[in-house]
Structure formats: C-alpha cells, structure tokens
C-alpha cells in the first residue's frame, strides 16, 4: 500500500501542507514564541522534513537528529504540552487536506513516537522502569 505521503501527492502536496501547518503554529500563542521569525525559510524546510517523515515519505531523520535539533528549545521550556499542540495542528492540517480520522491517528502515533527524542529525555519504556 502506498504511504500517506504518496497518497497525498508527494512533495508538492507536502510543501502546501507545510505552509498550512506552519501558519497554524505561528498564530498559536501557546507555541508561536518558539519560532524565530528571522529564519522563516529554514524553519519551513525543517517542518517539511518532519511532515514528510510522519507521512511515511523519504526521510533519513534519526532520534539523534531530533534530540540535537530541539535541545535549544527544551532549554527554553519546550514540554509535553507543546508537543500536544504540534500534534493537534498536524491533525487539523491533514483534516483540511481531506485525510480521514484513522489515517490521522496513525500519523499522530508516528509523531508521538519521537516525543521523547524531541524533549530530550530517556525513551518512555526506560523511564517506566525507574
């Protein structure tokens, strides 16, 4: 079965989706302050990488990249509530593109799977033992 990335139409569709997604983030006071307006193009490129990954498109991001890429934001207070907002906007963006609820839940699960990496803490299974 083709990935959701392919079903949506590949790169051009994801490029359009990233604009919708990033616009939602920039206008949401809960997370807008994490985005530095000076490097908008760079941030959009990163969001595109993220969306491509969670949609099952070609991606080489690793947990290590996710940790390194968000460390400075964790230092500024990035926590679970912000990851929840990201997943909320991700779902709303996909819904606007006509993606069904079941597929959105799958994508949210993939996004959730990198939560511990993004927040730079031990993987949840390890944390549960403590």
């Amino acid at each position: 079965m083709p990935s959701l990335y392919e079903q949506l139409g590949g790169e051009p569709a994801v490029a359009a989706a990233v604009d919708v997604f990033y616009r939602k983030m920039l206008t949401d006071d809960r997370v807008a302050h994490f985005f530095d307006a000076v490097d908008m193009d760079g941030q959009i490129a990163k969001q595109k990488g993220f969306l491509t990954m969670v949609l099952g498109g070609p991606s080489n991001y690793t947990g290590k990249d996710m940790r390194a890429g968000h460390k400075h934001l964790v230092a500024r207070g990035l926590n679970d509530s912000h990851v929840d907002v990201v997943i909320e906007h991700l779902g709303a963006t996909l819904a606007e593109l006509g993606v069904g609820a079941a597929a959105i839940a799958q994508v949210a699960a993939i996004a959730n799977s990198v939560r511990d990496d993004v927040l730079d803490r031990p993987a949840r299974t390890a944390a549960a033992k403590n």
Binding site: E11, A15, A16, V18, D19, R23, G49, S59, N60
Partner: protein, 339 residues
C-alpha cells in the same frame, strides 16, 4: 561518468550516485542533514553544466533561477561545476559614469562594468572602492534595458562609503563590483499573479527594478508598490513611478510616511496615493488576504522580518515571499577630544 568540480577538487560519481554522496565519499565535508530533499542544508549552486533533473524540486522559483539545487537529490548526467550557494561571483572592474542626488539622503550612482556583470534587477552587489572599502547596494537598473548599473545609496551619518560617494566620487573613478546576491527579483511567468512590493528608504531600488521587469514581461496581474519613509523628504522617483502608474492600468503606487502632512502640490495621478501613519499598520489594513500573491519586501531589517511573517500569516505561500533586509554597517564612533 559525471565529474563534479567543487572548490578545486574533482570527484567522479559512481553510477546513480548523488552529488552529496560522491562528495562525502571523497572525504569532502559537504554540509547535509536529512539527505531526502527537505532540509535544504545541502543547497549548492551550479556554476557550469546543467542543473540535474529533479534536484530543484521544492525550491523557490527565484532559487531555481539562480541555479541553486539540492546535492542530495542531484544525479547529474554530465560534468558539473558547483559552488556554495552564497559564494559571491567574481569581481568585475567598473567605472562611475554618473552621480546624482535623488533626495536629501539618497544618491544615485551609475556604473559601467569592464565585463558583463550577470545579475537580475533587484539583486544586490558589493561596491568595492580602490582602497578595498566595500558596501552592498541593491541594483535598481534592469539588465538588457539599461546600459549602466544603477545603485541607490542612502547617506549614512559618518558612513565611509556613502560619504565618499556623496562628497568625493567623480565620474571616471574606478571601482569594482562583486556579486550579485539576493533573491529579490522578478521571475518571468505566472503573469496573472498579483504582486505586492513593499520597501522602506532605498528598499525602493530593487522594487523599482522588479516593477519594470514585470511590466516588460507583460505581467497582467495587479502590481502594488508601497514605499515607506519617515517623512515626505524620503520619497524619491515619485515622478517616474507616478508616470508608470498613469501608463499601466495594473500598476498602483502608494507612498506611506510615518510623520507629517502631505504637502505636495503634485497633482494627483491615477493609481497613486499618499498615506500618513505606520507602514506596517497601513499594509495590514490594505491587504488583509494575500492568498495567491507574490510578495517582495526590502529595506529596514526589523520591518522586513515582521512583514514577512505577516505576509505569510495573511496567506501568501512561503515560496512566494521574497525578502531582502538591508543591514547598515554601524558607523564608527566619533573620535573623542582626547584621541
């Protein structure tokens, strides 16, 4: 097999190998991250050879026009010479052919170059004086139409270069141009797309070039130019732009000044307007929805950053927003009496 030339090294690519993989295999520390065509970390520029098929997918039209490509997606079929995306071109010798005052704080400089200076109107270039002093200015002229290169120089208090240009530079003086750089220029096509151009001060220079370029290209969509200044003295090229608005039904020219009353006795021209108040408040009110627009922003750095974010939130696609923030080199501190 294709050979890639990069900063004096040559790498022969294996069959089906990407440029990035080839460079890394050869031990070259080429920038990269996602290796899947998204993060744009591996961006490079084609200097000679064909842009590899598929290696520009997802890039802005202006970036494509500049020959930028993603090395992780590039599988060239022929030899390719590449450079870092921001590597400045060669330096070209030039001669001053005209110096003229455009307003109380803007001087127009016209140059001719010893060799063709490949650029698009609206990009910027670095002007280099014979002693090595260098400053960047936007190009207001149009290649192919104008026989000279025109730059608008804002007079900065204690500015080394602008002060020299205003007081001492003479017709015939030798200088050099390095560049070009910048992504504020017109890419032909999509003629029906509305264009919004907002600039402060000498941010008008690149916008003027873009307006002329778009009209020359037969652009049919609306072209809205908004020039911001502190007060009325900051407006220049008013006659030229008003005339353009008279001649072209799809071109509108608005001026917006922060302070003062509009005292000009110039008769109102069609499709021109003058407003008093903050530029950002003015454009936010005048353009509530920018979905489908192409937007150019030039001038004051903080305003450019703020307006770029506004334009995007107002609906312009990120690929259609082109910004050029003018950074002024801080003037040296005045000498104290004891130094």
């Amino acid at each position: 097999m294709a050979v890639v030339h990069h900063e004096g090294r040559s790498v022969e690519l294996a069959s089906g190998e990407s440029v990035l993989d080839g460079l890394l295999r050869a031990g070259i520390d080429a920038p990269h991250s996602c290796r899947a065509g998204h993060c744009q970390t591996c961006l490079a520029r084609v200097v000679r050879g064909d842009v590899p098929v598929g290696s520009q997918e997802g890039l802005k039209p202006t970036w494509r026009a500049l020959g930028l490509f993603l090395t992780c997606r590039a599988r060239p079929t022929g030899d390719l010479e590449m450079a870092a995306p921001d590597a400045l071109g060669l330096e070209v010798g030039a001669r001053i052919v005209d110096v003229a005052r455009l307003s109380h704080d803007v001087v127009r400089l016209r140059l001719t170059t010893d060799a063709p200076f490949e650029h698009c109107g609206g990009q910027f270039a670095t002007l280099v004086r014979s002693d090595g002093l260098a400053r960047s200015y936007s190009v207001a002229s149009l290649p192919g139409r104008d026989e000279f290169i025109e730059m608008h120089v804002r007079l900065v208090t204690n500015g080394a270069m602008s002060g020299w240009i205003a007081r001492d530079a003479c017709v015939g003086d030798r200088v050099a141009l390095r560049g070009p750089a910048g992504e504020c220029f017109h890419v032909p096509g999509r003629r029906e797309q509305p264009l919004l151009l907002i600039g402060t001060g000498t941010g008008l220079a690149p916008l003027r070039a873009i307006v002329h370029d778009a009209l020359r290209d037969g652009h049919t969509g609306r072209i809205q130019l908004v020039h911001g200044a502190l007060d009325e003295r900051g407006f220049y090229l008013v006659d030229e732009l008003s005339a353009l608005a008279r001649e072209h039904a799809n071109f509108e020219y608005a001026r917006c000044m922060l302070r003062g009353e509009h005292l000009s006795t110039t008769p109102a021209s069609p499709r021109t307007s003058v407003h008093v108040g903050a530029l950002d408040a003015r454009v936010r009110a005048a353009f509530p929805n920018l979905k489908g627009w192409r937007v150019f922003l030039c001038g004051h750095p903080e305003l450019v950053v703020a307006l770029r974010k506004w334009a995007f939130i107002a609906g312009a696609a990120s690929k259609d927003i082109h910004a050029d923030a003018f950074v002024t080199k801080p003037a040296p501190l005045p000498r104290t009496a004891t130094s």
